[in-house]
Amino acid sequence: MQVNDMKMIKVNEKWCLGCHLCEYYCAFANSGVEDMVKALKDMMIQPKLRIEQKDKISFAVSCRHCEDPICVKSCITGALSIIDNVVSIDKKRCIGCYTCVLVCPYGAVMPSQEGAVRKCELCVGNSVSSPACVSACPNKAIELVEV
C-alpha cells in the first residue's frame, strides 16, 4: 500500500465494543502465515495495537505516526525512521533497548517476543492491502483517516 499522505488509525470510543477482534486480526495479518488458526492457535498473540478498557469504556491505541515522532529521535540505533509518512521499525537494527517504549506518550510501542519492539505500521508490507484492524472491526469503530 502506497501511503503518500499522512494517515493514521482513528478509533471512535463511542462504537468500540471491546471485543478485541482488531487485536487478533492485526496479529494474524502480521504473522506471515496464511491461515488464521495456524497463525494464532496456542500462541501468545502479538498485535500491533492494544485495547484499553475501563468500566464501560474501551478503545484501541495504536501508533499516531506523529509528524515529529519522539521515538524516532530517541532511537539509539536508528531502527525507527519515517518512511512514506509511516513511522517504521527496521527489525534487523532494533536491539530491544526499549528507549522508544520509555518515550512514546501514547504507550503505542510495545515489547515483543522476538526482542525488537512492535507497533502499528499501517499494514504496509504485510499480507493485507489495507489496515487489518479497520476491516476487522464489526462496528465501524476504527477508520483509516488522513491527518
Binding site: 534487523k92 533497548c97 518515550v103 491527518v147
Partner: protein, 411 residues
C-alpha cells in the same frame, strides 16, 4: 553559511538533521577523531555478543553524509578553537573556518589513579568501537576478566563478554549496582539477576593495589585477571571549549537554544550542561534521546531559526541480560511502590505531579509516565489510582484523551 561540527555521534548527526531542516545550501563539515561512519555507541556491547554487526550498528545509512551534503573528516583530532578568528585547528595543523560551530565531543572514560596501574598490560576502557574491538582481541574462552565499576557501562561490558570468557568479576565502591539510577530494591533485583547469569559481583569494594595479572581489593581478597576493564565513570570532553574560554561547569554551559557563552559556538550531547526540567537547574544529561534533542535544537538555531529545548530530563532504558529497566525523572516526593512477579515499580510524585519512576520488567506503556512528568500533568485531573497500577490513557479525562488520540493536541 559555513557550519563546522566536531563529533560524529548522536548529537552531531542530530545537528546535521536540524541544520538541513532549515538550510539546504549551507556547507557542513564534520570532524571526528574516530575513523568510522557514525555508529550507535551503546551497540558496542551487542557487537561483542554477536547480536549486531558493523553494518547494522551504523546510526544512519551509508548515504547519509552524501544525502545531506556533509564533508566528512575522519580520524583527525581537533586541538584548538580560536573564537576571534572563528577557526578550528586540527592536530595535523590544518584549519577550518566556521560561521557556526558545534562541539559534540561527548565524554571520555575516567581512569582513576590506582597504584600499579602502569604495570597492567591488558587495561581497557569500554567507550568506543575501537575499545570494544581491542577488548575482544585480548580475551578468549579461558580468560578471567575484572571490571571496575558496576554502573551502566560496566554492567553492559559484563553482558557483552560473559559468554566469551571463563569468568567475569565486577566490583564497585558503592553499596549497590547502578547507584546513579536505581534504588536499593531494584538494584538488588539486578544484582541477583546478574549473579544468576554467572557474573561475580563484589560491592563496597575497590582496588587497593594492582599487579600485572591480579588485583588486591580493599576487602583484602585477590582477584586474578587476564584483562582489566576500567568503567568507573566518564568525564565530559570539554578541554577544547574550556581553553577557548566558554563558560563551563562540569560540562559546557548552554542556554535554551543550546548556545554557549561565546557567540556562534554551540554545544550538545554528553559534554553539554543544559536545563534539566525535573531538577530545575542545569545538569549534564548524558543519555541518547537528550543528545539528539540538543543536537537538533542546536542545528536549527545554527541555521538561523530559533528553537528552544527546555524539556530535557534524566531517563534511562537499559536491557541487561534479559532484564529490562526503565527510569526517568528525579526521585523526590511521595512514593508508590509495587512489586509482584511481573516486576518492580516505584513512582515518585509531589505537588500534584509525577516526578520520577523506576521500573524493572513491568515496563509496558512507560512512555505515558514519562509524558506525565514532561508535561507536568496534574494528577488530580486524572484517575491517578488507575495510573499507579498501570499507565493508561483511559485514566485521562475523555475530552483530553480523545483530543490527544486524534492529534488535535500533543502531549
Amino acid at each position: 553559511m559555513n557550519y563546522v561540527i566536531i563529533g560524529n555521534s548522536t548529537a552531531a548527526i542530530a545537528a546535521i538533521e536540524g541544520i538541513r531542516s532549515i538550510d539546504k545550501q549551507g556547507r557542513i563539515t564534520l570532524i571526528s577523531i574516530e575513523n568510522h561512519h557514525t555508529y550507535s555507541r551503546p551497540l558496542i556491547s551487542y557487537l561483542l555478543q554477536g547480536k549486531t554487526d558493523f553494518d547494522k550498528m551504523k546510526y544512519r545509512p551509508d548515504s547519509f553524509y552524501e544525502d545531506n551534503s556533509v564533508t566528512v573528516v575522519l580520524g583527525k583530532k581537533a586541538v584548538k578553537v580560536i573564537p576571534d578568528m572563528k577557526a578550528v585547528i586540527l592536530e595535523d595543523s590544518s584549519s577550518y573556518e566556521y560561521d557556526r560551530l558545534l562541539i559534540a565531543t561527548g565524554s571520555l572514560p575516567f581512569v582513576p589513579d590506582i597504584s600499579g596501574l602502569d604495570k597492567v598490560k591488558s587495561m581497557h576502557t569500554f567507550m568506543t568501537l575501537d575499545d570494544a574491538l581491542e577488548l575482544e582481541k585480548s580475551i578468549n574462552d579461558k580468560s578471567n576478566v575484572l571490571v571496575l565499576g558496576a554502573g551502566l557501562i560496566g554492567l553492559k561490558c559484563c553482558e557483552a563478554i560473559k559468554d566469551k570468557v571463563a569468568s567475569v568479576t565486577v566490583i564497585d565502591l558503592a553499596k549497590q549496582v547502578l547507584p546513579s539510577i536505581l534504588d536499593k530494591t531494584s538494584s538488588d533485583i539486578v544484582a541477583q539477576h546478574i549473579e544468576k547469569q554467572g557474573v561475580k559481583l563484589k560491592l563496597s569494594c575497590s582496588i587497593k593495589q594492582v599487579y600485572e595479572n591480579s588485583a588486591l581489593l580493599t576487602d583484602d581478597s585477590v582477584v586474578r585477571f587476564d584483562a582489566l576493564v576500567m568503567a568507573v565513570g566518564v568525564r565530559p570532553n570539554i578541554s577544547l571549549l574550556r581553553a577557548a574560554g566558554v563558560d563551563t561547569n562540569r560540562g559546557v554551559l548552554i542556554n535554551q537554544c543550546c548556545a554557549t557563552s561565546i557567540e556562534d559556538i554551540y554545544c550538545a550531547g554528553d559534554c553539554a550542561e543544559g536545563y534539566d526540567m525535573t531538577a530545575d537547574c542545569k545538569k549534564i544529561l548524558a543519555l541518547l534521546p537528550n543528545a539528539y534533542m540538543q543536537g537538533f535544537c542546536a542545528g536549527v538555531n545554527m541555521a538561523g531559526e530559533e528553537k528552544i529545548y527546555l524539556s530535557g530530563m534524566p531517563m534511562n532504558a537499559l536491557s541487561l541480560m534479559g532484564l529490562h529497566i526503565l527510569t526517568a525523572g528525579i526521585y523526590e516526593g511521595e512514593e508508590y511502590v509495587f512489586q509482584d512477579k511481573k516486576g518492580y515499580k516505584r513512582l515518585f510524585y509531589k505537588d500534584d505531579m509525577l516526578k520520577g519512576f523506576i521500573l524493572v520488567d513491568d515496563i509496558e506503556c512507560a512512555g505515558i509516565y514519562t509524558a506525565m512528568i514532561r508535561n507536568k500533568t496534574l494528577l488530580s485531573s486524572m484517575d491517578f489510582d488507575l495510573i499507579k497500577k498501570k499507565p493508561a490513557l483511559c485514566a485521562l479525562a475523555q475530552e483530553r484523551r480523545t483530543s490527544l488520540l486524534n492529534r488535535k493536541e500533543t502531549w
